[in-house]
């Protein structure tokens, strides 16, 4: 009996004009946008490769350790085609230096785009699904029960020896089977286009599978919302109108409204000022120790012979906005005058003392900074995200971002790798005894050999990590589905025909 019902529903759904219309629109939108998105991705990849080349040359150009310029770049994520998330927005270029801790807030962009074009936001595949799948779900569901009730066929079906729950199940299964056709078909087209120009790994396919699963759950959620409306109303006209109102509210109004009503919390400036002062204290402490060392060596004073001999530029500062703390001691000379040669041993001792000290100093400031930055910038964004999750759009967006690895966590992975790389570079410098070497400040007896420097590599997190990050939202989607279905069954059981 269930089978008969499913077959009937399936045929009913497939032969309608709405199915054809939905299929056409989805295919058209996904294919057109995928082409544009791939082009955009390739442009970004090109600019990334160009940046890598330039930075490699820049590193080679540094003759001494103290003037080294290691810059690392973040490659564009190929899955940003599905959900661009923060991949394009956040910085993709950050410096590695022992006197500086790289964070998201200090990263820059190596992009060559026209930033004014950012007016016209690029849409990704998940955005198309957000709008179209939800509409599809509601369009297929609004007359499922109300329509049969109006036509009188509901009585006929219920006269058969079949449970009401089964009727709903049959409707659900067949409608979802139909709705999956445009979803899968458009995704296949997108993948086909993708694979032609972008190499995807097995892990990427698994991530895409995760995105498809999330899309499925999202679609089903909206179908169930439509079904709920259909069960609860008498007439199709009312059902359709309500469905449309709910759609407009959930997709269009709520996500934009919530951001506008939430007040950006607290006095950011005051908070930043406190942390800035704290960091400044640590930097002052560093400066005192540095001066103490210089005095002990008898080479103190900014205009001292020693400073002049080395062309020493020394600063330690904290940026009042991003709280970036930066400690630097560069020697900008190409040769030492013979009369200054006597300072060379002091210089070795100086750098051997001051560079490990500056590395320690910025590590100390890092803990204070991290907490403050999280409080100032990240917490507000997290609150917004949680509030957004009251609409299925927010949950779906978060889940697919986590799968694609373009969420905040995914981008932060890059910066923690960059920090680990900084540690590795410092270890390398220790191992080479670079701090106490002559090449640290002067290249007259041979330039630094950079060939053994550890290479920076960044691997996106594993599929397991992606899945773990997506799990809460996936669960939320599934639970909402189940709860809604149960609610619908309950209402349908109690309703009169």
């Amino acid at each position: 009996m269930l089978k008969t019902l499913i077959r009937r529903e399936l045929l009913d759904n497939l032969m309608t004009s709405r199915f054809a219309a939905v299929l056409l629109i989805t295919l058209l939108l996904v294919v057109a946008n995928t082409v544009v998105l791939i082009q955009d991705y390739e442009q970004r990849l090109e600019s990334y490769n160009g940046a890598i080349r330039t930075h490699y040359q820049e590193l080679r150009a540094a003759k001494t350790y103290s003037t080294m310029a290691i810059l690392v770049d973040r490659a564009p994520n190929p899955l940003s085609i599905f959900n661009v998330g923060l991949d394009k927005r956040l910085g993709n270029l950050v410096g590695i230096y022992h006197g500086f801790m790289p964070t998201l807030w200090n990263a820059q962009m190596h992009g060559t785009d026209n930033p004014f074009i950012a007016f016209f936001s690029l849409i990704d595949i998940v955005f198309i699904f957000e709008v179209v799948l939800s509409l599809m779900g509601l369009i297929f569901a609004y007359d499922a029960i109300a329509g049969e009730r109006e036509r009188g066929t509901l009585r006929l079906v219920l006269a058969q020896p079949i449970g009401r729950g089964q009727i709903l199940l049959a409707k659900y299964i067949s409608a979802m089977a139909c709705l999956l056709v445009p979803l899968i078909l458009s995704l296949l087209f997108a993948l086909l286009l993708l694979m032609r120009s972008i190499p995807l790994s097995t892990a990427d396919f698994l991530r895409i599978a995760g995105i498809v699963f999330a899309s499925f759950a999202y679609l089903s959620l909206f179908y169930l919302i439509g079904l709920l409306i259909s069960v609860a109303t008498r007439r199709t006209g009312t059902a359709l109108m309500l469905a449309m109102f709910v759609w407009g509210f959930l997709i269009l109004v709520y996500p934009n409204l919530i951001r506008a009503t939430v007040n950006p919390g607290g006095d950011i400036q005051a908070r930043t000022k406190i942390v800035e002062d704290q960091i400044q204290q640590i930097l002052d402490e560093y400066e005192r120790e540095r001066q103490k060392f210089l005095e002990k060596e008898g080479i103190a004073g900014e205009t001292s012979e020693f400073s002049k001999a080395l062309g020493l530029h020394s600063y330690a500062f904290v940026d009042p906005v991003t709280l970036m703390s930066y400690v630097e001691n560069i020697s900008l000379i190409s040769e030492i005058h013979p009369e200054f040669e006597q300072y060379a041993p002091s210089a070795k001792r100086y750098y051997n003392f001051v560079e490990p000290l500056s590395a320690r100093t910025v590590e100390k400031t890092w803990h204070i900074r991290k907490q403050a930055l999280d409080e100032i910038y990240v917490r507000q964004a997290e609150t917004d995200r949680v509030l957004l999750k009251f609409s299925p759009v927010g949950v779906y967006d978060a889940a697919t971002q986590a799968w694609a690895g373009t969420d905040l966590e995914g981008v932060r992975d890059f910066f923690s790798t960059a920090r680990r790389y900084r540690k590795a570079v410092i270890d390398y410098l220790y191992a080479k005894e670079a701090f106490s070497s002559r090449e640290w400040f002067i290249a007259d007896k041979g330039a630094v050999d950079w060939s053994t420097l550890p290479q920076f590599t960044f691997e996106r997190s594993t599929v397991g990590t992606n899945a773990k990050r997506a799990l809460p939202d996936m669960f939320l989607l599934l639970i909402c589905n189940l709860a809604l279905f149960m609610l619908i069954v309950l209402i349908f059981m109690k309703s009169e025909v």
Partner: protein
């Protein structure tokens, strides 16, 4: 006809959709007003502080010799925030609000770091702001442009999808057409009925919004601003009538109202949600942008060429007429070239934006967005207007310096060099000041094209609806 309109309005006023629409629009408009009241004073304060500082710099430069003013020029220029910011946000977070007046470039110093060769000021246009510190979710601003462009258009379809198909289903269409009313009267009656029923909740919500904003002590709306608001309201009506006409057209052609709504929804999604962004990204991928590195690379050969040209004058410490004229020409030419290069870059970028805008104008939603931005005094058009204002002022200030110098008979009239300029003292009060202004008639001129296009869309759709309804069998 009036009868039909009245019937439609009564019908609509009692319906569920009218109540839902009113609540929705009120909620959106109140949010918009609250946000504006909260944020606008901050914007104004920031602007005032910046202007005060910039004006203090000009005063400092103009207090004393004319040469100092000619060399350092004015302070930076700041864009005045529009009091109608709540109508259209216009991507203000992306657009820079400053035009910088660079410090005079130092061409050479001696061994003790004293400047021996220094040029004159020039304008430079900062690039768009990057959003690389914002980790929040992507959302659009709830401004009037969004409320009208997305929500009101959806509501228009919501009110008209069953205009004919619903009556046909209920059988009342036959009844109405059996009377001696011509079909076009029925259509026009329906059209105005729907338009007025939508305008009522919108006008109500807009009034509440404006009431909140105008009673807030921190925000002031001038008479001109009210005029602009009137235009924006008229635009909203024009735009809504476009979607009303679309709804009537589809409703007349389709037998079932459910199918009609579905078709309309899919059309709406395409027109309002997808067309603007997809078309823009296609358009922007046509022409690659120049990177900052390339920009710097272009600069170097130009400079060298200039150095060669004036080499013989630059290093001489003589103060005779010829040397001074050589130096002066070098400085002015350098500043001019610098400015031209920045300007070209800006022009290149804006031509890209214009191309994307032209292509996206197929979508009425984008047309409306541009129009509201234009009249609210925000967005890209306004930014270019600001750039123009500063350029005009820069010319004015340079002329002022030249005129003041010319008025002094003792001066050798060689601008940009200390020894070649008037030694008379000037006072800060005599120097012209910069004021960023908006010009309504100019806004009208730039908007005329888009306005015509939107009207054309409405007319085409209306006549389409008429033809469809006249030919339809009941």
């Amino acid at each position: 006809m009036w009868h039909i309109t009245k019937r439609e309005i009564y019908d609509n006023l009692n319906s569920l959709r009218f109540a839902l629409t009113t609540v929705l629009l009120l909620a959106l408009m109140v949010t918009n007003a609250v946000r504006h009241i909260r944020e606008h004073p901050k914007r104004v304060q920031t602007y005032r502080d910046a202007v005060t500082e910039s004006s203090a710099r000009l005063t400092a430069h103009a207090d004393g010799s004319l040469y100092k003013l000619a060399q350092y020029g004015p302070g930076n220029f700041y864009k005045k925030p529009s009091s109608l910011h709540f109508c259209a946000n216009g991507g203000e977070s992306i657009l820079p609000d400053t035009i910088k007046v660079g410090d005079p470039p130092v061409f050479a110093t001696d061994s003790e770091n004293r400047v021996i060769l220094q040029g004159v000021w020039s304008l430079s246009y900062p690039d768009a702001n990057l959003q690389n510190k914002n980790v929040g979710p992507k959302v659009s601003q709830v401004d009037w442009a969004f409320i009208i462009g997305s929500i009101l258009s959806l509501i228009a379809l919501w009110f008209t999808f069953d205009a004919f198909s619903g009556e046909r289903e209920r059988g009342t269409l036959r009844l109405m057409l059996a009377n001696s009313i011509p079909r076009h009267t029925v259509l026009i009656g329906k059209f105005f009925g729907a338009l007025i029923s939508i305008s009522i909740p919108f006008a109500l919500a807009a009034l509440v919004n404006l009431l909140l904003i105008s009673t807030a002590s921190t925000v002031h709306l001038t008479t001109e601003a009210w005029g602009r608001l009137g235009i924006i309201f008229a635009l909203a009506l024009l735009y809504t009538s476009l979607f009303v006409a679309l709804g009537l057209l589809v409703s007349a052609r389709v037998q079932q109202s459910a199918v009609s709504l579905m078709i309309l929804l899919l059309m709406w999604v395409t027109l309002v949600v997808f067309m603007p962004s997809t078309l823009a990204s296609i358009a922007s991928s046509f022409s690659p942008a120049t990177s900052f590195d390339e920009f710097w690379k272009q600069r170097n050969p130009i400079e060298e060429d200039l150095w060669d040209k004036y080499d013989e004058w630059l290093w001489s410490s003589k103060v005779d007429d010829k040397t001074l004229r050589g130096k002066s020409a070098f400085f002015t030419e350098n500043a001019e070239r610098e400015e031209r290069r920045h300007e070209e870059r800006l022009r290149y970028r804006s031509s890209q934006v214009y191309r994307a805008r032209a292509i996206t104008s197929i979508s009425p939603a984008t047309l409306l967005q541009h129009l509201i931005e234009g009249f609210a005094g925000t967005g890209f058009e306004r930014h270019l207007q600001f750039v123009e204002n500063t350029q005009r002022y820069a010319r004015q200030l340079r002329e002022f310096v030249a005129d003041t110098d010319r008025a002094d008979p003792e001066s050798p009239h060689i601008l940009g060099v200390r020894e070649g300029m008037s030694k008379k003292f000037i006072t800060p009060e005599s120097v012209p000041r910069f004021e960023d202004t908006l010009n309504l008639s100019r806004d009208f001129n730039t908007a005329a094209m888009e306005l015509l296009l939107l009207t054309l869309f409405v007319l085409v759709l209306l006549s389409g609806a008429y033809l469809a309804f006249v030919r339809v069998e009941v």
